[in-house]
Amino acid sequence: MAELVSVYEFPSDVATVVRKLKARGFTDLTTYSPAPFEEIEMAEDPRPSKVRAFHLIGSLVGVVVGFGIQIWMSMDWPIKIAGKNIAAIPPMWIIGFELQTLFGGILVVAGLAILAGLYPRPLDRHYSPRFSAEEFGVVVRCEDRDAAEVESLMRGHNAKEVKRAEVH
């Protein structure tokens, strides 16, 4: 196995090289970028993010909890207020909405942590502070016999540097 690390200056080059590498079947790749660029995200993985599923689940749980606690607590200590029903639904929309937002937001952040692997851990072997400056990185893992082709693709798309790393 070979690992090739290339460095770029522009996001459009990264997006193009990622698309070409994937078209050639080199799908085991990682990109590093100093800022969010939609063209790179789409080139790497055009599928919709699963964050939205977390949002949906959180929001549904929140609205059910919001109405649930209000109905249960109102029934548990029944007291007539201003001639309204014991469990009057219209004023419950407010807390229902707030808890929908609260649970939805918490689950979105939980989804981010899970999907992006956000927990204190060692950084990748090929990560460099250059990628938090203004440069972009593309790391491709491929068979030894394909390394020359990958390197040529990288250099053909304005890679500033291409390095071959040992795979442990």
Binding site: F37, E41, G105, I106, V109, L115, E134
Partner: protein, 464 residues
């Protein structure tokens, strides 16, 4: 001992050039480094103010709320006014970060972090005031629905309880939104820090490396949080307004209150962003990032929301007259010409008359003028809440029950302390984390360079 290989000697003689760091990283992270006298003086003032307010609050807690200026029939005073004021200030951050994000207003990138920071600390400050107002601070948990030996639950039909849920939800979502946006910038700080700071940043950056997978999840999370925060920010001040509008107190029982409060909150919040960011920009030399263009855009928002406030003030008076309800009419007459006329005219002049100067482009881009104007707008917004709360409560239905409320020294010290408390957190933040969203600034910059290269390539007839 064998000599080192020739290549190693060559490498030692000609070390590879240190990779160039981004100018945005250098400039913005410079705020967190070095020593700045104005910062230290401001921090010492803030600490002194917080200390004095804490001692005063301790005395109030020991003596009881009698040391505040409450007198029948006014039992909502400076503490509730200040609560509403700070909640309002907290609205600009979410508006700039979430709503302008959804509208793809890219100019927000230079100011959104400062505004979000302000939001978090403003809401933290606001959250103290209901606790201070109840006097017996240790009983604050009575506000929450919790199982207890009396089998009592809170009243879900009360707007005060809606407020508890709204403010806590807003605080949580604002903090999450702020932290999510901060993670990539903490990673930038981590890569350039040494010593204990590196350890702290490494933990807080949570393994962020800017991989495609991470950016994708991050971008979507920001989008979804913006979608959640947008209706939330509108709901929070609407619910705060219902604390008043759901009652039958003359001057409070108005359907216009929710949009009136929301517009006022955005108005005051933007003004506070200007008041905070003008000195930050000047002291830390951030003029290349926070430009006159940003201040001009904020001025436009301030002018627009000032017009909404002016309309709301006028509509209140018109409806009071048109309703032919003498209690409403008296309440509004008393506002303008009663014992609190000073606060009412301050409110009108600072919030409606003075911002009209922003129709003049030269003034919109005159930073010292903007700073002074926004200072007065903040003063005017505090007076707006004073007018709404105090004049209405002091002039209710029965003239025999009318009264006069004068804030006590204790309340004014705690009010001043709240500004110091807010400033203290903001100043400490400045020295720990980037005050401008570095990765978002870089996104615009790199995109611009990429497009410039494309144009150059097309112009020369070649392709890159």
């Amino acid at each position: 001992m064998a000599p080192p290989p020739a290549t190693a000697v060559a490498d030692a003689m000609n070390p590879p050039a240190r990779p160039r760091d981004s100018q945005a990283n250098i400039d913005i992270m410079a705020v967190t480094k070095g020593f700045h006298w104005p910062w230290l003086i401001a921090l010492l003032f803030a600490l002194a103010g917080v200390g004095l307010a804490a001692a005063t609050l301790a005395w109030q807690t020991y003596e009881g709320l009698g040391v505040a200026g409450y007198q029948a029939p006014v039992f909502w005073g400076v503490y509730i006014i200040t609560f509403v004021f700070w909640i309002g200030i907290g609205h600009a951050g979410t508006l700039i970060s979430a709503i302008l994000f959804l509208f793809r207003a890219k100019w927000r990138n230079a100011i959104n972090r400062g505004a979000e920071t302000m939001t978090v600390f403003a809401v933290l400050t606001a959250a103290l005031f209901p606790l201070i107002h109840i006097g017996r601070l240790w009983k604050f948990y009575f506000l929450l629905p919790y199982p207890n030996q009396r089998y009592l639950w809170v009243n879900f039909k009360s707007p005060l309880l809606w407020d508890v849920f709204a403010v806590n939800t807003y605080l949580t979502i604002s903090v999450l939104f702020f932290l999510v946006g901060l993670i990539p910038d903490i990673a930038i700080a981590r890569d350039r820090a040494v010593g204990w700071k590196k350890v702290v940043y490494t933990i807080l950056s949570a393994g962020w490396q800017g991989t495609g997978q991470q950016w994708k999840a991050h971008s979507r999370a920001v989008l979804h949080l913006s979608g959640l925060a947008t209706p939330l920010v509108l709901s929070v001040h609407s619910i705060v307004s219902w604390d008043f509008a759901m009652s039958i107190v003359p001057g409070w029982h108005a359907t216009i209150f929710a949009p009136y409060f929301v517009a006022g909150a955005i108005f005051g919040g933007f003004a506070m962003v200007v008041v905070v960011m003008v000195p930050v920009r000047r002291i830390f030399r951030l003029e290349p990032y926070i430009t006159d263009y940003h201040f001009e855009n904020m001025s436009r928002f301030i002018l627009f929301t000032s017009l909404i406030c002016g309309y709301a003030y006028g509509a209140e008076y018109f409806i009071a007259w048109y309703s032919a309800v003498e209690f409403e009419q008296t309440s509004f007459y008393q506002r303008a010409f009663g014992p609190y006329w000073f606060s009412t005219w301050c409110m009108i002049i600072f919030n409606v008359v003075m911002p009209q100067l922003l129709w003049i482009k030269k003034l919109r881009t005159n930073i010292p003028f903007l700073f002074v104007l926004c200072f007065f707008i903040n003063l005017g917004m505090w007076f707006e809440r004073y007018v709404i709360i105090i004049t209405s409560l002091s002039r209710e239905y029965i003239p025999a029950a009318w009264g006069l409320y004068i804030p006590s020294l204790v309340e004014m010290i705690v009010l001043t302390g709240s500004f110091c408390w807010f400033s203290m957190f903001f100043l400490l933040y400045l020295k720990m984390f980037p005050i401008i969203a570095i990765s978002e600034v870089k996104e615009l910059d790199i995109h611009a360079r990429d497009h410039a290269r494309d144009h150059a390539a097309h112009a020369s007839g070649g392709a890159h």
